[in-house]
């Protein structure tokens, strides 16, 4: 059941849902597959990373991009939502002490939940967006780790792209990243060059979301892997993005 669905930054919404089973079982990096409306338009479910968990509720963060997200923004408290989850494999962070999060734009979605769970570790967070109006949870992230911000228009933090700040995290033993593909490519080469373990949270067009249809394929060393089943979190060395 929808608890709240609020626009927290420009066209960016935080949707909180009461679902005991998902809230109790989800780990950072996993996603849910949401049926929006109950007609054939949109037809397929839409996948969203879990952004936050608290008690018997979980939250997703989404930006209005097309018909599905536009309709999702119309849901009100008390509405029922048809949700399958938690799905996929989350971040594997247990063995690491110096962790860096690199989040570009809406790639920030899985990291609030992850950062809250990592409170005990040494955490650096690089957060980038087009403009200050699209940065979320800046205060909260600054309390969870060492936060560095970039905006493309310079409205907050350093002017530029988050991938330009990677030298700040050279000392990490694990980098986790999510964001536009060009950003992920830069992170992947950087971490490969300095031999830093790296996990990427990928997106892919999904049909079933359950590992059955083989639709969300991503190229890997030996054939294809699937974002919904083998991911969405992958070691950067195991996928070609």
């Amino acid at each position: 059941m929808v608890v709240s669905n609020r626009e927290i930054k420009r066209e960016i919404f935080l949707l909180k849902v009461r679902d005991n089973k998902i809230a109790a079982n989800v780990v950072p990096g996993q996603f849910v597959h949401i049926r929006i409306g109950n007609s054939f338009s949109p037809l397929l479910r839409r996948p969203f990373s879990i952004h936050d968990v608290g008690g018997d509720t979980f939250a997703i963060l989404y930006k209005i991009r097309g018909k599905g997200t536009f309709l999702l923004s119309k849901y009100k408290p008390g509405d029922q939502l048809d949700i399958i989850g938690p799905l996929g494999k989350g971040f594997d962070v247990k063995k690491y002490d110096k962790i860096a999060i690199v989040a570009g734009g809406m790639g920030v979605a899985p990291f609030y939940f992850l950062a809250k769970k990592l409170k005990a570790k040494e955490l650096t967070i690089l957060l980038g967006a087009a403009t200050e109006e699209e940065l979320v949870h800046v205060d909260e992230f600054s309390k969870l780790g060492k936060l560095k911000i970039t905006t493309e228009d310079g409205s907050l933090g350093t002017k530029g792209m988050v991938s330009e700040l990677l030298r700040e995290i050279r000392g990490s033993d694990l980098v986790v990243a999510c964001g536009p593909t060009p950003m992920l490519e830069v992170v992947k080469s950087f971490t490969a060059k300095y031999d830093i373990s790296c996990q990427l949270s990928l997106e892919g067009r999904m049909a079933c979301g359950l590992g059955v249809c083989l639709g969300c394929a991503v190229k890997s060393a030996n054939g294809y892997k699937y974002v919904c089943k083998d991911g969405p979190v992958f070691w950067s060395s195991e996928v070609d993005i």
């Binding site: 397929l44 999904m206 079933c208 249809c213 969300c216 991503v218």
Partner: protein, 299 residues
């Protein structure tokens, strides 16, 4: 509970609801009860492994989906050793979909599967997403020959899965029946395309794809109707079935059974809901045996 059973040749199904190839698997068991269905049909298996088409492999269209998976599968030997046991453990009838790029390849796969406990084979001669094989075999001479040669190596019920992509579907169905097919299933996905106007590229890595989902239902119904008039063997209806009402349309127009595909992506429990819906329909209309409504059209 009404008697929902139906016979497809020697294959007795406890109800006419099956899940279509490429849309289901043991992974669904967490979300539904596959043992309540008439059968499930596996992803298409080929002689040798296929890695499939480059992504993106799917694209949502108006009330439909384009797919260009490209028959990715581990090959029949790995399938039999590793995947088949998971299917057989599901306590439901298992039909294996097969394809090949030569007649010999199809026959070899059929021969290997004849040594297993699978309940039937569905022969995919209509996949639009592979360069060799699939649709190439979908003409009446090839279907006749292929059906005959497969029947020679296995006694399992053989279903030939067809599509209108190459035209003459009614004639091809007759050839399948003449070749000894126990049933024909139709329709497979329709040729389709979508363009990204900004990049001017196809939305699919494999360029063209197959269209499925609610938007193709009227086309599927048309062909079930036409083929049922042309052949004496059972016709299995596939195409955009998302509800009990849809399933009934196919049964009334002559389908002995139905396959649910795309609808599984939206609701993994849809098959079970349709079985329950058919049972309610029979109760409400005082029908003892569901087969009474097969081909009961009033025109």
């Amino acid at each position: 509970m009404a008697d929902l059973s139906v016979d497809i040749g020697n294959l007795r199904l406890k109800n006419p609801v099956m899940l279509a190839s490429g849309t289901c698997g043991p992974e669904l068991q967490k979300f539904t009860d596959l043992s309540k269905l008439g059968a499930i049909i596996t992803k298409t298996v080929t002689l040798n492994p296929r890695i499939g088409n480059p992504p993106p492999r799917t694209f949502e269209t108006h009330c439909g989906i384009l797919n260009s998976i490209g028959l990715e599968n581990p090959g029949v030997d790995v399938f039999i050793a590793e995947k088949l046991p998971e299917f057989m453990a599901l306590n439901t009838k298992v039909i294996v979909s097969i394809a090949g790029d030569t007649f010999a390849a199809y026959v070899e796969v059929a021969r290997k599967l004849d040594n297993t406990q699978v309940d039937a084979l569905e022969i995919n001669v209509s996949c639009p997403n592979v360069e060799k094989g699939g649709v190439e075999f979908s003409n009446k001479e090839s279907v006749y020959r292929l059906t005959k040669e497969i029947k020679e190596v296995t006694s399992k019920p053989i279903i030939i899965k067809l599509s209108p992509n190459v035209g003459g579907l009614e004639e091809v169905s007759i050839s399948a029946a003449d070749g000894g097919a126990d049933a024909v299933s139709l329709i497979n996905t329709l040729y389709g395309l979508a363009i990204d106007v900004d990049t001017k590229k196809s939305q699919l890595g494999g360029v063209t794809g197959g269209l499925s989902g609610p938007c193709i239902k009227p086309v599927a119904l048309y062909y079930v109707y036409k083929v049922k008039e042309a052949v004496n063997i059972p016709v299995i209806g596939i195409g955009g079935i998302s509800s009990t009402y849809d399933a009934l349309e196919f049964l009334i127009v002559g389908a002995s059974a139905v396959e649910i595909g795309t609808a599984n992506f939206i609701n993994p429990n849809i098959g079970v809901e349709i079985v329950e819906g058919l049972d309610s329909y029979c109760d409400k209309n005082k029908i003892n045996k569901l087969t009474e409504i097969i081909n009961s059209r009033a025109f």
